[in-house]
């Protein structure tokens, strides 16, 4: 194969944020910038530039140095900085390693927060942009599609993205474990601080029925309550409203506990022992830890939530190992396809397929004929089927051979032929473009 896959990049693992900012490639067009040229060392390119990573994926000639120089030159040139500085921070993967890296990035195994879901969307955007700018070709197109599908596979077959890794999301997840759907539940914020507001926003996104806000000063409570279209009240009134509240987020600056177990017995009786979930994000704590001893009351303070988050992160690391196994399988599949882009294996595959079809059809027809058929008829039929298939495939093969002689690069046509004759035996879903139409 005369082409090689190269991947150059900076990420949170190799470069400080200043470097990443300096060498961001937002708005970089590989064709306008002269990275991809007709004759040049690079013939396909895709740029991914996010706040945690800048990656340049390209397909070029096998000579590493030439490709590397061209990439560094245009990259540093676009950013108005020294190529030497850039060279010190980048990593350079080729072929199998490059494919593996891209697949890991897509599956969010290389992310700062392992398994976070944004990166796949960012990669999809980057790909869409590259397609619009006509800087991709057969290899990058297929590589990206496969990276999306392998990311989807890791997500559905491992739990790498399943548990909450931020405090407010961990709280929401716990609330759902207790109450199920939250759309019939009410929350109460005690203390109108910034943290409480953030947590409330997360809860509202889950479709809470109502949010009540209690604060030392009624004014500030009103202010916040208006924003959530909720009810405002003074701190002194909370015990009148607690029987209606299912989720209570507390963040006052009070130096002593404002809710104790003995206060809640009456509240629980009034709400017929429906469960209550207390989230105490104040330091020092607002809610006496004793309340967790009561049946149907669950109390988490900020340390507990932090611990949940850390445990979830550790769990994701374990799952990431499984995901790497899946990535490895997908990389192997991609490599197999890549190797088949040579002319001769494709011709062999094409002829094999034809022969298989011919043999199958002859067998089927023979079954419909009397069993005492003489050998001559049998041979004639076999000959007929084989030569029919051979004649049918003759022109496509001649076409492929001619193209590879004339243009030097025949991947596009070979890929097309493989697709048209379905030589890779791929399972094609009934509506492969269903998700595109929605957009």
């Amino acid at each position: 194969m005369e082409h090689k896959i190269h991947l150059f990049g900076l990420s949170h693992k190799t470069a400080e944020v200043e470097i990443r900012e300096k060498f961001a490639l937002t708005g970089f067009n590989p064709i306008d910038a002269g990275l991809v040229t007709k004759q040049g060392p690079v013939c396909e390119a895709l740029i991914l530039s996010t706040c945690n990573r800048v990656e340049v994926l390209c397909v070029g000639i096998p000579e590493d140095e030439q490709v590397r120089n061209r990439v560094l030159e245009t990259w540093a040139g676009f950013c108005g900085a020294q190529a030497d500085l850039l060279a010190r921070h980048i990593y350079h993967y080729t072929d199998r390693d490059a494919v593996r890296h891209l697949f890991s990035v897509a599956a969010s195994l290389d992310s700062m927060v392992l398994g976070e879901p944004q990166i796949l969307g960012q990669l999809k955007d980057a790909y869409r942009k590259a397609v619009d700018e006509h800087s991709t070709g057969v290899i990058i197109n297929r590589m990206l599609h496969k990276s999306f599908s392998s990311a989807k596979r890791t997500r559905s077959e491992t739990a790498v993205s399943s548990s909450a890794v931020s405090i407010s999301y961990a709280a929401v997840e716990l609330a759902k474990k207790i109450f199920g759907e939250l759309d019939n539940h009410r929350a109460m914020l005690i203390g109108a601080g910034e943290m409480a507001e953030l947590a409330a926003l997360h809860l509202l996104n889950q479709g809470l029925k109502e949010i009540m806000v209690a604060n030392r000063t009624l004014e500030r409570a009103r202010e916040l309550a208006d924003r959530f279209q909720g009810k405002a009240m003074c701190l002194e009134d909370i015990f009148n409203y607690l029987p209606q509240a299912d989720i209570i987020i507390s963040s006052t600056g009070s130096s002593s506990a404002i809710i104790r177990a003995r206060d809640l017995r009456e509240v629980l009786r009034k709400r017929k022992h429906s469960p209550m979930f207390f989230i105490d994000i104040a330091v020092p704590r607002d809610i006496d830890p004793d309340v967790n001893q009561l049946d149907n009351i669950y109390l988490y303070d900020i340390d507990d939530l932090q611990e949940v988050v850390e445990e979830n992160l550790a769990g994701r690391k374990e799952e990431a190992r499984k995901a790497e196994g899946i990535i490895e399988q997908e990389v192997a599949k991609f490599e197999k396809w890549l190797n088949s882009l040579d002319l001769s294996p494709t011709i062999v595959d094409l002829l094999n397929k034809g022969e298989t079809i011919a043999r199958k059809e002859v067998k089927k027809s023979l079954r419909n004929l009397p069993a005492d058929l003489d050998d001559k008829t049998r041979q004639t039929m076999e000959h007929l089927a084989e030569s029919l298939v051979g004649k049918l495939y003759h022109d496509p093969i001649a076409f492929l051979k001619r193209r590879s002689r004339e243009e030097g690069s025949s991947e596009k046509y070979i890929d097309l032929a493989r697709k048209v004759f379905n030589l890779d035996e791929e399972q094609i879903p009934d509506n492969p473009h269903a998700d595109k139409k929605g957009k």
Partner: protein
């Protein structure tokens, strides 16, 4: 009769594969396997229905005096209730308790040698049917409350003690859902249990001319009824949710099982299902 043997075996195999595959589906948290398992269990249930209907229509009356038939019917009722709950509350999870229980009970019905029950006198159709039907349904509901109760206690404990949730726990439905199963099982189960017990006494009055004969089964059932009544009262008046009703439902189900297995098979009672028919 051979064809019935084969049918029974197929049903047992379907229940077995349903139970095992559901367990696997839960452990590896694959929805597809869980759905396949549900299909297997429902297929088993369908065949089971046919099996019971055939046995009933072929040997009407006679089959009602065979212990096998009742045990098989109990297994069938368990699945009926599970499928209803699954359909109404979307609680696939209870398959974990329903499929294995149905399997065990159904296999029991195959294992014991067909015995003729000493059902005396006229079968007073209505009362007897009411007695069996409502008690079986309420026991099946208790079984679901038992499964939901165990899951509730497990999940509640995890959340209370803030300990790490494994993949299986993470995929469990919410505490609220399990509590709702308990609620429905108690609200529907207790009236049925009462009805079943009462109709049993009325039937006894017709058949033996005495309402209460200090039969061990009768004494035990009344004890269970008191527990159940207490649970029903506490739930209905709004006092109880969560752990306490879950625990009590578990206790009542275990007592019912003891009553069913221990008393029906091992003591002198006119509820005897013992193979030798004494």
């Amino acid at each position: 009769m051979l064809s019935f043997r084969i049918l029974d075996l197929v049903i047992a195999l379907l229940y077995l594969s349903g139970a095992v595959s559901f367990l696997l589906g839960i452990i590896y948290s694959r929805n597809k396997i869980q759905n396949i398992s549900a299909c297997l269990t429902i297929a088993g249930f369908g065949l089971h229905t046919v099996d019971l209907a055939l046995k009933y229509s072929l040997g009407l009356g006679e089959v009602l005096t065979q212990s096998q038939f009742y045990i098989s019917l109990l297994a069938w009722t368990f699945l009926l209730i599970f499928i209803l709950l699954w359909w109404r509350l979307k609680l696939k999870f209870l398959s974990l308790i329903a499929a294995p229980l149905a399997l065990v009970i159904f296999t029991c019905s195959l294992a014991i040698s067909p015995a003729t029950l000493p059902i005396p006198g006229l079968l007073q159709g209505l009362w007897f049917g009411l007695h069996i039907g409502s008690l079986f349904v309420s026991i099946a509901l208790l079984a679901m409350a038992f499964g939901a109760g165990l899951a509730y206690l497990h999940l509640d404990n995890k959340i209370k003690t803030k300990s790490r949730m494994g993949n299986v726990t993470r995929d469990l439905p919410s505490l609220n859902t399990f509590d709702r199963v308990n609620h429905w099982a108690v609200m529907v189960g207790f009236p049925l249990f009462t009805l079943g017990t009462l109709s049993g006494f009325i039937w006894a009055a017709f058949t033996w001319k005495t309402i209460f004969s200090w039969d061990p089964k009768e004494v035990f059932t009344i004890a269970i009824w008191f527990f159940f009544a207490w649970l029903f009262h506490k739930r209905a008046t709004g006092g109880w949710k969560g752990r306490k009703p879950a625990k009590l439902a578990i206790l009542i189900f275990i007592l019912s099982l003891i009553s069913f297995v221990g008393i029906n098979f091992f003591t002198e009672t006119h509820h005897s299902l013992r193979p030798d028919g004494t």
